[in-house]
């Protein structure tokens, strides 16, 4: 297990977060969450006329005795909650100090651990333009170490295409689940299309915008050749105080628009600043609620 990224201290923090999560979120609910779909639980949902082929055991005989009609009882179906942590591994994530990708991997590992320990199915799916296979369907705490190994071996690179990634993810995962999207979300229009795509497939969505301090307040000035870390394209610009001021305003607007978009469609949002320890960040997210609705 790599010492730098997931050390013992990290594991201790995971345990602590898990306890907090149990008390704040899962302590109020069963591990199995009721769904709108009709199933075989013991919770009554509705009546329906009997049709040939229906299980005769579901016929409500008392109604038949009073009314002489065959009706069957319908029960609410109970199902597992699938947690999907979509982790952006594009080149833009390998940036900043503390590094955004390291931060995102810790957040992803922590969320997956919390999900696994509560008998949910947790999956971590890295993506750039398409979702990779990742580590799907992890259950039980014992799966955390293979997951950490997997995350440790992940490398950044390439460009991000959130919309195409979301389309591919929706084709692969038909059953709605809780999708936590961890990314820097550059290219807001593509991000919105991606969220729409996930929303249409009835996933619960929570977005975590990872931002390094450099991105919020870049300490640069003067004649610079700016190089895109994803495409390696460059442009010569003169960074002045006024431009930095405009940049800070624009970044704030960019984050606000992402948050507003989420609020409009009941999508959870949190900005993870990498200078804040990840456990503090997650604790604040768990306390605020919304990660598990």
């Amino acid at each position: 297990m790599p010492q730098e990224l997931f050390d013992k201290d990290f594991l201790k923090k995971l345990e602590y977060l898990d306890l907090i999560a149990r008390r704040l979120v899962f302590g109020r609910q069963q591990a199995l969450r009721p769904s709108d779909r009709k199933g075989a639980s013991i919770e009554f949902k509705d009546f329906r006329e009997y049709s040939p082929g229906d299980d005769p055991r579901t016929v409500d005989w008392s109604v038949y005795a009073r009314l002489g009609e065959l009706v069957i009882k319908l029960f609410r179906q109970e199902e597992e909650l699938d947690l999907w942590v979509l982790l952006d591994t594009s080149g833009s994530m390998d940036f900043g100090e503390p590094n955004k990708f390291d931060y995102a991997r810790r957040v992803a590992a922590a969320l997956a651990y919390i999900g696994m320990s509560n008998m949910d199915s947790a999956s971590v799916v890295p993506f750039t333009t398409e979702p990779e296979r990742g580590r799907p369907g992890l259950r039980g705490r014992g799966k955390i170490f293979p997951l950490l190994d997997y995350l440790s071996d992940l490398r950044c690179g390439g460009t991000t295409e959130l919309a195409s990634m979301a389309k591919a993810f929706s084709r692969r995962v038909r059953r709605p689940g809780l999708v936590v999207l961890v990314s820097d979300f550059y290219g807001l229009s593509g991000a919105c299309r991606a969220l729409d795509q996930l929303r249409f497939f009835k996933h619960q969505i929570y977005v975590i915008q990872v931002a390094a301090p450099w991105e919020i307040d870049p300490p640069i000035r003067g004649e610079l050749r700016l190089v895109d870390c994803e495409t390696n394209s460059h442009e010569d610009l003169t960074i002045t105080d006024s431009m930095l001021k405009r940049y800070r305003g624009a970044f704030e607007r960019f984050s606000s628009e992402l948050r507003s978009y989420g609020m409009r469609y009941s999508i959870g949002y949190a900005q993870a600043r990498t200078e804040v320890p990840f456990d503090e960040f997650l604790l604040r997210v768990l306390q605020r609620g919304g990660l598990v609705a």
Binding site: G187, D228, E230, T238, T240
Partner: protein, 631 residues
């Protein structure tokens, strides 16, 4: 345009260094960003895409290259004379005479002397000529003087010119030009520049004679009134003096003013004068001062040239003449009677009659006599100085040779207006005979016979004046005529007045003063005192071989010499009409053209303009960069 120092073009390589440094300066630091598009949207298309935005970054480099070009060109010393300027050997002659002290009004209200303008002209001349020129500077005062020998260092010439002090006397440009021509012998492309106000036409004349000479005129004004002559003559009969003064108006307009005469500091006379433009005024004024003194005449008017507004003259004390008559005892009667009748002129008590033997025995003891008359005799040795009258005989060293005898010549006066002929009518004088004489050319014939042979003639030397009568007075009826005492009176009056003084009564500024006759052997030094100046200056000069040389005559005023127990005066004056007429001569051709001086850029010489331009461009570059117009 020609570069006078083309080697400076090698410094253009600095331009390559500037380009390299500039490229280093504009080399951008790489900065990796997570989303370049985000920044591009912020910067907008204008900053990146605009042609001006792309080009303006090179404006700074262009400015620096322009700065380097200006500096290289400035060091190369360009001249805007279309390649006509070639290195020359140039002698600059600066006139520092009295007229160069003329104050010239300027636009800013501050007057400057012509000498200061001449020094500026030297600076302009040297700065607008090739640096490969060779220079020499001559001061044209009373005597030409080389102030800076041949040099290619223009600063040396300018410094030497700045150190020129005014000479308050007259200047002679001809010796300076001759010296310059001598010093230019063997030089390639010689040139003489006369920086002067013209010195009353002398500069124009000199430059006209020498095609390599260029006259650089200085000054414009002509407003000046000056005393060009002040002489004093003693009137022994009246026990007074007559002062002759001549004032010249050099300006174009009419001037009404006055001349003040002061004797030993006290005003004795004030003469109103009225002079038309370009005219002169003269007058003889009686000065009743038998005791003598120093006369100062000054013009009560402020004009452009001050030194010629005053002049000095020395009034010798008026005293009666001592006459020694040397004649045989039987031939002295008429002379003694005539002399005794001239009490106003002759000191009868001091005058004596001697025989020639007595005179020869007495020797130099009689040298102090104002006049010695030899009648029908001659001394064994004629003194070198003094006034003498020889009648019918004279020593061999008198340059008048006997060539025969005339019988019964008729005498007539030649020069009626000569002082010796005043009131004398010799037409009816009968002469028994007279000696025929061959005269030197410089003799003045006062009376002659009908055939032109001189009968009375005057031979004048600086130290000695001799009047000769080529006939025996006692063999004529002259002693019985009025003409005889009148002729004697005129002789005493004229010759005694003209007696050789110890020192000249007048001299010009910067002249040397030497005694007019040998001083007594016991005099080993002569004390002097310069008077009438800010601080009287005194001293002594040594006497060697009976003479001395006094050269501290740089300023106008009287100087008193103490020779033994006697004091004598000499007045030092400017009194030069050429200096008073201050209107400068006009140059035939502008000196700037004649000297092919380089043109000007922005009103100054090109290299200065380029240096200033480079400095200004540095400022512009700094401003545009720090205001981020060109970054």
């Amino acid at each position: 345009m020609t570069l006078l120092a083309p080697a400076a073009l090698w410094m253009s390589l600095i331009g390559a260094a500037v380009v390299a440094l500039y490229l280093l300066k504009i080399k951008r630091r790489r900065q990796t960003v997570p989303a370049l598009e985000f920044w591009l949207q912020l910067a907008g298309q204008k900053q990146v895409r605009s042609l001006f935005q792309r080009l303006k970054r090179w404006v700074s480099l262009a400015l620096w290259l322009l700065i380097v070009a200006c500096l290289v060109m400035a060091i190369g010393n360009p001249v805007l004379s279309l390649g006509k300027t070639k290195p020359q050997a140039i002698v600059v002659i600066v006139d520092n005479s009295a007229s160069m002290q003329t104050l010239e009004p300027s636009d800013d209200g501050l007057s400057r002397t012509r000498l200061a303008m001449a020094i500026d002209a030297v600076g302009e001349l040297t700065s607008r000529r090739p640096i490969s020129d060779e220079w020499l500077l001559i001061e044209a005062g009373r005597q030409p003087r080389v102030l800076a020998p041949w040099t290619m260092d223009r600063k040396t010439i300018c410094d030497a010119a700045a150190a020129i002090t005014p000479h308050l006397g007259s200047a002679d440009l001809a010796p300076a030009q001759a010296l310059a021509e001598q010093l230019l012998t063997g030089k390639e492309r010689p040139c003489i520049v006369l920086v002067s106000d013209g010195s009353a036409g002398q500069a124009a004349t000199l430059t006209a004679k020498n095609p390599t000479s260029v006259y650089w005129p200085i000054g414009k004004t002509s407003d000046n009134l000056g005393i060009v002559r002040l002489r004093v003559r003693a009137d022994r009969e009246q026990s007074a003096h007559h002062a002759y003064i001549n004032v010249v108006n050099a300006s174009e307009g009419h001037v009404d003013t006055q001349v003040v005469f002061e004797l030993d500091g006290s005003t004795t006379s004030v003469e109103p004068i009225s002079i038309d433009g370009r005219a002169s005024w003269e007058k003889t004024i009686p000065i009743n001062a038998p005791q003598g003194g120093v006369l100062r005449a000054w013009i009560d008017r402020s004009d452009s040239l001050v030194p010629d507004n005053e002049a000095f003259a020395v009034l010798e004390p008026v005293r009666k003449a001592t006459v020694v008559l040397v004649a045989p005892a039987s031939e002295s009667f008429y002379f003694e009677q005539a002399l005794a009748a001239m009490e106003a002129l002759v000191d009868v008590d001091a005058s004596r009659t001697l025989t020639v033997e007595e005179y020869d025995r007495a020797g130099p003891a009689h040298a102090g006599a104002d006049l010695t008359i030899f009648n029908n005799c001659r001394p064994a040795l004629l003194p070198k100085t003094g006034q003498f009258v020889f009648i019918n005989d004279w020593p061999a060293d008198v340059p008048a040779k006997f060539s025969g005898v005339m019988e019964g010549p008729e005498m007539s006066m030649v020069q009626r207006d000569h002082p010796l002929c005043r009131y004398v009518n010799a037409a009816a004088v009968s002469l028994a005979r007279a000696k025929r004489v061959d005269l030197p050319e410089r003799a003045t014939i006062v009376a002659r016979s009908s055939d032109g042979s001189p009968l009375i003639f005057l031979i004048e030397h600086p130290d000695r004046a001799i009047l000769c009568l080529a006939f025996d007075v006692l063999e004529s009826d002259l002693p019985f005529r009025n003409a005889f005492p009148l002729l004697l009176r005129n002789t005493v009056s004229y010759l005694v007045t003209q007696q050789a003084a110890v020192v000249p009564d007048q001299c010009r500024i910067a002249d040397t003063i030497e005694p007019l006759r040998k001083l007594p052997e016991d005099v080993t030094e002569v004390a002097y005192q310069l008077q009438g100046q800010a601080a009287d200056r005194a001293g002594a000069v040594p006497v060697r071989n009976g003479t001395f040389v006094f050269d501290r005559t740089q300023r106008a005023g009287p100087v008193r010499f103490s020779i033994g127990a006697d004091s004598v005066y000499t007045a030092i004056n400017l009194t030069d009409a050429a200096e008073t007429r201050i209107e400068p001569d006009k140059a035939g051709r502008p000196p700037q053209d004649a000297l092919a001086l380089t043109g000007r850029l922005f009103g100054t010489v090109p290299w200065v303009a380029l240096a200033v331009l480079a400095t200004a461009l540095v400022g512009v570059e700094w401003l545009t960069y720090h205001r981020r117009w060109t970054e």
